[in-house]
């Protein structure tokens, strides 16, 4: 890919429990030619898996005939991953910030880490809805193997 080129690829998965791991695996295969650092690649895979799991569970409610669509757009400086389901009629719920102390004290449920991990793994997260589809756009700033100016 030259500096001014962009690459867009799309694939979809049936809404079956566990298919979020397949989504992460496919993303890993798609990104392999970019030579990303292992650290960044693992962050991308976790964000994709958690977003896809939400799409399968909450967006499509495990209806196998409703696909989760994943689009990747690679630009010279950034990677955009858009994960869409058929939960567009619902607003994105405002998740409570997980607090492990509150969870251990029984004040919060032990669950509720998914959105937190997505926000911590990606550089930017945006939600859009129309009457049909709900889409989460994950943005990652690309760093190639050997780059040293990247820190969390």
């Amino acid at each position: 890919m030259t500096e001014n080129e962009q690459a867009v690829r799309t694939f979809s998965l049936p809404s079956v429990a566990g298919n979020e791991r397949l989504a992460a695996k496919k993303i890993e295969e798609l990104l392999r030619p970019l030579g990303l650092s292992l650290r960044l690649l693992e962050r991308i895979k976790t964000a994709v898996a958690e977003t896809a799991m939400n799409a399968i569970e909450h967006g499509n409610r495990y209806h196998e005939d409703l696909p989760v669509t994943i689009e990747t757009e690679i630009t010279p400086g950034s990677l955009y991953i858009r994960i869409a389901d058929y939960g567009g009629q619902k607003d994105t719920p405002m998740a409570e910030e997980p607090d492990i102390d509150a969870k251990l004290a029984g004040i919060q449920s032990p669950r509720g880490w998914g959105l937190f991990l997505i926000h911590r793994m990606a550089d930017d997260v945006r939600f859009t809805t129309d009457k049909e589809r709900h889409t989460v756009e994950l943005t990652f700033f690309l760093v190639r193997e050997g780059d040293s100016d990247f820190s969390i």
């Binding site: 429990a17 397949l22 650290r39 898996a49 492990i100 102390d101 969870k103 251990l104 880490w113 937190f116």
Partner: protein, 116 residues
């Protein structure tokens, strides 16, 4: 796509070592609760979770580990994790699981913990 998970316990001195393998998500709950419960019954001084054979932990797996810490408060401060990849060490840090589970970065540290 059903995940696979196994947990086995052995005892090294006064330390219960819980060997984990596979994927830690909601399907891991029964095995993990059984293994940790079995370890606690033997009343060891310390607990070591061996993650070397764990390939994947998702948010439900994190919730499961938090749930175990809530269910068994007596293990807090006496439990450590060994064999986490750098990525999952980072996740233990940002979720603050690291405040309750010592994260050991090499086998030497794990041996020190076992033989403390």
């Amino acid at each position: 796509m059903i995940s696979q998970f196994e947990a086995d316990v052995d005892f090294q001195g006064r330390c219960a070592v819980v060997h984990l393998s596979g994927e830690i998500d909601s399907n891991a709950e029964d095995s993990l609760v059984d293994a940790l419960g079995k370890a606690i019954e033997s009343n060891p001084d310390r607990f070591l979770l061996d993650f070397r054979q764990v390939q994947y932990i998702n948010s439900k797996g994190i919730a499961l580990i938090v749930g175990l810490l809530a269910r068994y408060p007596e293990i807090r401060g006496r439990i450590a994790a060994y064999g986490l990849t750098e990525h999952y060490q980072e996740i233990f840090k940002i979720t603050r699981l690291m405040d309750y589970i010592f994260v050991l970065r090499d086998w030497e540290a794990a041996l020190d913990f076992i033989n403390h």
